[in-house]
Amino acid sequence: MTITDNPDPMRKDPIATILSSCVGCGLCGEAAHAAVLCPSFYRTEVISNPSIWDKLKLNIRKSVISILQNGIDKRLAKIEAYA
């Protein structure tokens, strides 16, 4: 874990970031979670060779989540300009 420039155009201080050499031990996330430091941490699991049941779950989830995300994007499109 190291620091890098802030992608937020209004902020000046650097932000924490994870380098590509990360091995996914999860310690930084656990520490930040225990100390209530930052809600940005997440754990990603990648499922290879999904079963039929996995794929079914995925399809149901994707259809519902997509609809809801469309709503969010519609709201954002009114505010932001996509250059």
Partner: protein, 515 residues
């Protein structure tokens, strides 16, 4: 030749290649090493000595440690390591060729600073250049990463290119091939670095500028290019969506050019956070500051710019609703999936870490309810027990996502929430102070604006930040009463102290001496 690197960077391999090359050419070669562990905690140093074989059969006695003033070549895998080599005296202007990568691995001190504690790469580069006979500084780490190997290969290429050793490029490459490990990728990095490090041998002229090799690129700050900024200044409406057209027109008609980019960011942020009315309120708040700056400022609008920045950041304080909104977005899902490098046949599942405390919950509830809960010991203790271990939410599942989505849609409740009224009062008090101080001391007013930067984070971090802020504001009042002319710089140093450590000890020390 000294090779300074960090653990895991192939320093040993680089040393082996060099020794192999030297011995192949008939030289005596010796290498010693002090190994390290990975990352910043383990700096390594490899020291090599080569001596031409005079054919007499007598073995020379070679040194096992570098002697300051007698090191011909220093290879460094990172800029700070190069700086340390200079500091230790290994780099001297009469003999040393210094080849370094210009990337930085930040030290713990730089990483744990609460503000921006990064040491300027410029300064390190300047001292490296001044201390060496010949300096080659490029981003060799990037070349290595792009070629799919570690930095040892690119440094070897740069070494070949520098001509510091009397052997040809082919002979260097042959040593890499003989090693037999990761040859293709290593040779790719070797070739590229060889080309980039090549430069006409220019005698050092003016002490400050770096003339050998391409000037290393500092990472561009995230944000807009000058052309994009100019476009926004001339036509703010081009940077916003249809809902903000009127406000963008207001930015153009009511506000001076130097601030317009910041204001466009500000109204977008406020509108996204709450609604267009909130963004309009944002501009309303800035009106009187603009009038004041116009009247007494020097035309650069420093005060208005910083007030515009920090007002927007403060008005969009991070709460549960905002965090949920950011995590529910499609673009975030896409980014996470891309980072995990999942291919089309793989499924990504994401678990988010939440840790709402009593305060996070009462903050989002309507004022009277929130206050009642905080006052009741019983309610507080129940909530604490339930939220003690935090929440790991599977946000790519239906249940998890619906929870997240519902939270993000609580936005209309925010205006009536406890924290909202608290924060708006704090913002208005702070703006009042800036407005009143601007007449007496413009620079002090700018410092008051900048002090809003100490309030950041969540939970305890936020609480401490707020305490520090209040302490600094009390100090401001004292200084204003005394009409102290050095007030602005004093407040600036108090702010640095507040961001220096978590406990606020440094700030407290400074405060007690000035009261």
């Amino acid at each position: 030749m000294a090779i300074v690197a960090m653990g895991g960077e192939g320093g040993g391999v680089l040393a082996d290649w060099a020794v192999d090359l030297a011995e192949h050419k008939g030289y005596w070669a010796q290498a010693t090493s002090v190994p390290g562990v990975a990352q910043r905690t383990g700096s390594t140093i490899y020291y090599l000595e080569f001596m031409e074989n005079d054919g007499s059969g007598r073995e020379p006695i070679l040194s096992t440690m570098p002697t300051p003033g007698e090191v011909d070549i220093v290879l460094a895998s990172e800029l700070m390591e190069a700086g340390r080599a200079v500091f230790r005296g290994l780099v001297t202007p009469d003999v040393t060729t210094l080849i370094t990568s210009t990337n930085r691995m930040y030290s713990m001190q730089e990483k744990t600073a609460m503000g921006d504690g990064r040491i300027s790469s410029e300064e390190i580069m300047q001292s490296c250049e001044a201390a060496s006979k010949r300096f080659i500084g490029e981003d060799f780490a990037k070349i290595a990463e792009e070629s799919g190997t570690v930095i040892s290969a690119s440094l070897f290429g740069a070494l070949a290119s520098s001509g510091a050793l009397p052997w040809t490029k082919e002979e260097f490459a042959a040593a890499v091939e003989r090693s037999g490990v990761g040859v293709a990728a290593s040779l790719k990095a070797f070739e590229r670095s060889f080309e980039i490090a090549k430069a006409p041998k220019v005698a050092k002229s003016a002490p400050v500028s770096i003339e050998i090799g391409k000037r290393p690129e500092e990472p561009k700050p995230a944000g807009l290019t000058p052309q994009e900024e100019l476009a926004l200044i001339n036509d703010p409406a081009s940077g916003v969506g249809p809902a903000l057209r009127d406000l963008a027109a207001r930015v153009k008609s009511d506000f001076p050019e130097p601030v317009r980019v910041m204001l466009v960011h500000g109204i977008k942020r406020c509108a996204e956070y709450q609604d267009v009315k909130y963004a309009s309120h944002y501009l309303d708040r800035l009106n009187r500051i603009k009038d004041r700056d116009e009247a007494i400022g020097d035309g650069r609008y420093r005060l208005l710019t910083e007030v515009a920045r920090y007002t927007a950041l403060w008005m969009t304080y991070e709460d549960t609703i905002r965090v949920a909104d950011l995590k529910a977005r499609r673009r975030r899902f896409d980014r996470v999936r891309k980072e995990a490098k999942a291919n089309d046949n793989q499924i990504t599942q994401v678990r988010e870490f939440f840790h709402p405390g009593v305060e996070e919950i009462t903050d989002t509830l309507p004022g009277p309810i929130g206050r009642a809960i905080l006052k009741s010991n019983y309610a507080t203790r129940i909530i604490e027990r339930v939220t003690k271990d935090g929440l790991r939410l599977h946000t790519t599942s239906l249940y998890g996502y619906l929870l997240l989505y519902t939270l993000s849609r609580l936005r209309p409740l925010r205006r009536r929430s406890l924290r909202f009224s608290l924060e708006q009062n704090r913002i208005d008090t702070w703006l009042d102070q800036i407005f009143d101080t601007a007449n007496e001391d413009y620079n002090l007013a700018v410092e008051i604006a900048e002090t809003a930067n100490v309030i950041k984070g969540y939970g305890d971090t936020h609480k401490n930040g707020l305490n520090n802020f209040n302490a600094i504001m009390r100090e401001v009042n004292l200084l204003r009463a005394k009409k102290d002319s050095g007030a602005a710089s004093h407040i600036a140093s108090l702010r640095q102290a507040a961001l220096a450590d978590e406990s606020g000890a440094k700030l407290r020390a400074l405060l007690s001496t000035s009261a």
